[in-house]
Symmetry: C2
Subunit: 411 residues, 2 copies
């Protein structure tokens, strides 16, 4: 492939105009939107209005006049179509970890005659840490974490398992799990499933309702572009909402917070999963960032994501020095999220050298480089430039200078 062919792909890209809705630094190829999404332009003007008008001028009245109080539900409703959820099942609040705690306790209570939380050894660490926290708090009799290799999930779906906790797209390799199949297999054994959508919400079509998912959590700062540490979200299927109980029973989850009752009475709908007062500024950023998704079809996102990663792989093959990088992601694009990961002994140093040359990817211990493709703003020419820079770095061993820096830092 040559640059003309690459540019032709950008010309016919149905999402090309979306890039204009983002502020991207000049002369930088940003392939790390799977870690921190880029800045949607509208966030700047909206937050300025939130600060100056809503907070500065209208002050406390804004809870009603500017509907601050409705933000968690409003933002949740904007996220819902991106993850295949009908109305009334998604709410924006707290962090992914805190939300996972709520759902773990909810699911364990629903399945209280069982105690095993089954997950995978290479799940994102904080998910496992949160189970360990529940386990330490409630005791092993009520919560026991069992970790298995991903290929052994099915054979471990036994009747002692209360909850299956899986991340749909692996944070290192980008490998995606079959949500429909695994949810069905779990349900067959009476197991409830919590899906972590951190690397899938906004990256590929997620079909929570269609898969009859029970619970899900996800974050607002990756493919949803809500800003660093943006508020997270959670999903609870309607059929569970009247039976669940979550322990972080803060006043925003009360059926009538401003009655100031002494006794907690959980809201009967998705609001019961709120806890304390949410950050209006942070949630307003995510709120307006989600407007970029208007009129975006998730199949179009997926089609472009696959095309970007396939072009990346094809271009790599044109450069022999890049054979040193070993693909850790599935070769079959249908089994991937929207990233490619490669292992290399000098992964950290290569990653640093790339960043110095304006190509931002990221390193994941122990030896992996991740390249994230965010179809809303990654262009095919970005991929072309990234590959050329990667070739320069690897071919000229430019990264060795970085290796020395790393060594100097360690000693």
């Amino acid at each position: 492939m040559n640059l003309d062919e690459i540019r032709a792909l950008d010309k016919t890209d149905p999402l090309a105009d979306k890039r204009l809705e983002f502020d991207l630094p000049k002369d930088v190829v940003y392939l790390d939107g799977n870690s921190l999404g880029a800045l949607p332009r509208a966030v700047k003007t909206h937050l300025s209005q939130v600060l100056c008008q809503q907070w500065g001028n209208d002050l406390i009245k804004s809870w009603n006049d500017h509907q601050w109080i409705d933000l968690p539900v409003k933002v949740g409703e904007k996220i819902a179509p991106i993850i295949g959820a009908a109305s009334g099942q998604v709410i924006c609040c707290d962090s992914t970890s805190v939300n996972l705690f709520k759902l773990l306790c909810s699911a364990l209570t629903l399945n209280s005659d069982r105690n095993v939380v089954l997950s995978t050894e290479d799940n994102f660490p904080t998910d496992l840490y949160m189970v360990q926290g529940v386990s330490d708090l409630l005791g092993e009799d009520l919560c026991h974490l069992q970790l298995v290799d991903e290929k052994d999930i099915q054979q471990n779906l036994t009747e002692s398992v209360a909850v299956l906790l899986l991340t749909q797209v692996n944070f290192r390799t980008g490998k995606s799990l079959d949500m429909a199949k695994l949810t069905q297999l779990a349900h067959d054994k009476g197991i409830l499933v919590i899906w972590d959508l951190a690397h899938s919400a906004g990256a590929l079509p997620v079909e929570l309702d269609q898969c009859e998912a029970d619970f899900a959590v996800g974050c607002g700062y990756k493919y949803l572009n809500g800003g660093p540490g943006a508020p997270a979200f959670l999903y609870v299927a309607t059929r569970h909402q009247e039976f669940v109980k979550q322990p972080l029973s803060g006043w925003m989850g009360h059926t009538n917070p401003f009655a100031f009752d002494t006794h907690y009475q959980a809201s009967s709908n998705i609001n019961q999963f709120q806890c304390g007062t949410p950050s209006v500024i942070a949630m307003s950023a995510l709120d307006v960032a989600l407007d970029v998704w208007r009129n975006v079809d998730m199949l179009t996102i997926q089609t472009k994501s696959v095309a970007l990663s396939q072009v990346f792989l094809r271009l790599m093959q044109q450069h022999q020095p890049l054979d040193d990088l070993t693909l850790c992601s599935p070769v079959d694009a249908k089994q991937r999220g929207s990233q490619l990961a490669f292992s290399h002994n000098d992964a950290y140093a290569i990653c640093q050298a790339l960043i110095e040359k304006g190509v931002i990817a990221d390193f994941r211990a122990p030896n992996m480089i991740r390249f994230g493709f965010t179809p809303l703003y990654t262009s095919f020419e970005d991929v072309w430039r990234a590959i050329n820079t990667l070739r320069d770095v690897v071919e000229s061993k430019l990264y060795q200078a970085q290796r020395f820096k790393v060594a100097a830092k360690v000693t």
Copy 2:
């Protein structure tokens, strides 16, 4: 007192210049900083820089280059002197309610041979709700909430009490509790104390270390002016840090989050109380808002707070129609936080009429109006204008129109 005397007070106010550091709406008297602090001017420019430069341009690199990763500790260290805490004991994270959950579980674990959490009937509801959540999760054998009238706290400090949970300044009446005395009495019985500083941090001198406090939580959006729903903070005395364990064990509390270990290993210092990824935008707003406190002495804050409320009460006495309002706050200024509360059968309607005339106070069910004094930006002339407006509203029964609106809304 006449207006000249009032203006003379503003002229000699050592905090008068601080008002210039805030954006306040024209023609409004804002007496609700105890609910939502006003906008510090510096927040606007700083957040613009955080958005455009740090997020938009420097993207993922900002976690290191702009020290996003250090914000929870950095902001905690800025809060520490305001609440009488030495370094290493305060961290900014999550919401007050979530932080309270962490501390309740920590304290119950430290005092695991007891099960009672003692609190007051008129504590802020979310504090009680969080105890109820812990109680439902762990069972009454491990956590039993006992509520008593404030005057009966001392006689209920028995050896079955694990934790005494108190809010230093009552959210309705503004009455403050004696932190030193109650902490000492509780410790004498082996009871750990959690102080909620929502209405005291930034309102009056708080001396956590001096009182040998164990734990505290507080919010960033009232007297600390961090913006609506700003991140909260928590305090854990150094002597407890190596023995505590909190269940919301997210990756930011790990001793080495970026090692991506499968097993949770809590940080040994205050960092162990972090959970998920914090909102950088929300925390940056609070970070710069706290700079207003540079060179501010808490005794100066208290002196002005007392003066403002005493002037308010004196001016009320000059207007006979205001006799209809019954003071619910302690008459002795030393026993109050930085607010005055009054009861009136038409409290809601009066409050709405005041707001329509540009004096912002707030209503708390069932029949209370609160006037908050925020010494950093409330002037004596604000108090003068508030009283004149209040007199107009009450004398002319202007609020009756509001009463009809309320009735119409209810039916």
